[in-house]
Symmetry: C2
DNA sequence: ATGAAAGCGCTAACAA
DNA sequence: TTGTTAGCGCTTTCAT
């Protein structure tokens, strides 16, 4: 009977949640809720005595602040969203790893999602993410559907794009030029005196840009032909092996193969060894990414180095700057790349 | 003047945010806010005509629901938290990848954090995460500080632990026995007739369990000695190379080396080749994880296969079941492991 | 099938 | 330095 009365006495709208609230802490500490709020988010604004009282009360009650309520009240979620196509791809995982540290340091948490390799997936993700009202968003790539751009723009949220470069970023871009990669690798191959050229690639957008740029730069030099083995992704060792087989079937011999990732390159290496071809004598191989295993393949892989963790960190700093409303003079940051020459290509 | 009046007419407490709200949509559609709410979360409860009106209004206004407000009102955040020690470790990245798909499918988003390799980091992460009121939490490992367990328990949130096994999970555990791995590898080594044994390992908790179990199982068989090269993590190729060097310095020769990861194993392979040792003639190597590159090392790596993506998927399904309040009969799920024999160990 | 009222737990604005 | 008041934008409960 008493119990029922208590239940009925409860205000109409709601079932009570059992969690300790700020009001409870305030009662225990003998202060108002705003004072508890200040003890947490602006302790320097309170007298030492009050702060102490509140902290004791927090301790005693086991209070865990509710950031959902806080975010609603303040319109700041202290959440940043991060999207990469596929987290199981180590190059993206390392970027995210680099991104996380400064973000956490600044008191933000990460809402993570995979954007896949299609526009519709990215659109769905962005729509979902925006409904959480993140304070900032990290996006992979610079090509987004019109709908994506519209959503981002009307949300007026800071955005950093990574892994590519453009003069017209949504907001800020931190990456490198895939065109330049293609050209630089072509120049490298030309300087080394190769006469036959192959590409083993997955069909992802940025890989296609590198391939096209590589092809153009070779053509400009009158070099060729370029044998092409492009597969629907994702990359795997087997795909690399298949790639070299396809090139050889196509007439490729005694030349250099530029791969769209180190994993593919390792597959090419493996297939070459299995066929008894000498490396770099008969087949030379260039990878992309410089993943940690690249220096330890047999033979060690010549590849294009990208500093992924540092790109992630830089993106995080830029995003935090934008969130804080700080001036961000360079909206286009080129983090560059470098060819690392190892044993899978012949020396000049 | 008119403008100022409008500004002043605004209710006291708050600066207005510019975003379209549900109230705005309701006005445009000529219905109440609750009807808009239903159009989004329970469309079947509305008449076709009303639903259509509301959808038009949503379209016209470009309304993006505010899940922060929704979460506060409903006490359901539609957010699940996921923590792994280090996302740049591909084995964890692949687990997260497997975890994400069913979670997204069910309409949840992922709050992601790195728990590092220390209890204090995990505590800080869990405290931060709980303040977001996630509907469920994924945690790596089964050892958590008392404070962590207390926080989780008093939050009364569904939890799935992965990558290990215990009879006393916080809630549900999906993993495999590292003890069993150590024993199985020892049995494998014994059956293959090895007489000398080495371990190259990083000092992470679960790796230490495998090592200890491996050592015990060898001792039980009267086999030994066990040469040990354990390093503070994280694993790298160079560490693997250093590991084999250390073992050899310690007197190891003509035997098998069990590594705490495939990356380390690849380093051991590399160092052995560099020293002109034959594999598996003079040095045999067993890895752990069966990462994609393991089948393509030279020689191909014998290793312990863990199905990481499937572990992630299984964990997601269990967590969603718990969130939905469904019966979860098995709170301890053993996903097992298997030794994959390749060329880096001699055949019996 | 639809709506009115109440309130989730917190913080901004203003006052003292 | 501390408190009062008003609401952030949504969903619950209950009524019609």
């Amino acid at each position: 009977m008493t119990d029922e009365t208590l239940k009925d006495a409860r205000p109409a709208g709601r079932r009570g949640s059992e969690a300790v609230t700020m009001e409870e802490v305030a009662r225990v500490a003998g202060v108002s809720t705003i004072t508890v709020s200040r003890a947490i988010s602006a302790p320097h604004k309170l007298s030492a005595a009050t702060l102490d009282k509140v902290n004791r009360a927090i301790e005693r009650t086991g209070y865990v602040p509710n950031l959902v309520a806080g975010a609603l009240a303040s319109s700041r979620s202290r959440l940043v969203a991060a999207a990469v196509p596929l987290i199981s791809n180590p190059v993206y995982a390392e970027t995210i790893h680099g991104f996380i540290a400064p973000v956490k340091e600044a008191g933000y948490q990460v809402l993570f999602g995979e954007s896949g390799y299609t526009e519709s997936e990215e659109e769905a993700l962005i729509a979902a993410v925006l409904s959480r009202r993140p304070d900032g968003i990290l996006l992979t790539g610079v090509r987004h559907s019109a709908r994506c751009r519209r959503m981002l723009l009307s949300a007026a949220v800071p955005v950093v794009e990574i892994w590519d470069l453009t003069q017209t970023p949504v907001d800020v871009v931190v990456g490198f030029s895939h065109e330049a990669v293609g050209e630089t690798v072509a120049a490298f191959a030309a300087e080394h005196g190769y006469r036959a050229f192959g590409v083993v690639s997955v069909d992802d957008e940025r890989a296609m840009v590198r391939k096209a740029s590589f092809a153009r730069a070779l053509a400009r030099r009158g070099l060729g032909p370029l044998h092409d083995a492009t597969f629907p992704g994702p990359a795997s060792l087997q795909l690399g092996r298949d790639g070299l087989s396809a090139l050889i079937r196509d007439g490729f011999a005694d030349g250099v193969v530029f791969c769209s990732s180190d994993v593919l390159a390792q597959g090419v290496l493996t297939e070459a060894l299995a066929r008894g071809l000498t490396i770099p004598g008969q087949v030379s191989v260039i990878g992309f990414g410089d993943q940690s295993f690249a220096r330890a393949t047999f033979p060690a892989l010549t590849t294009v180095h990208i500093d992924r963790a540092s790109m992630g960190r830089c993106a995080a700093r830029k995003l935090l700057d934008r969130i804080r409303g700080a001036a961000v003079p360079d909206r286009v940051v080129d983090v560059g790349f470098a060819i690392v020459e190892r044993e899978s290509t012949r020396r000049r």
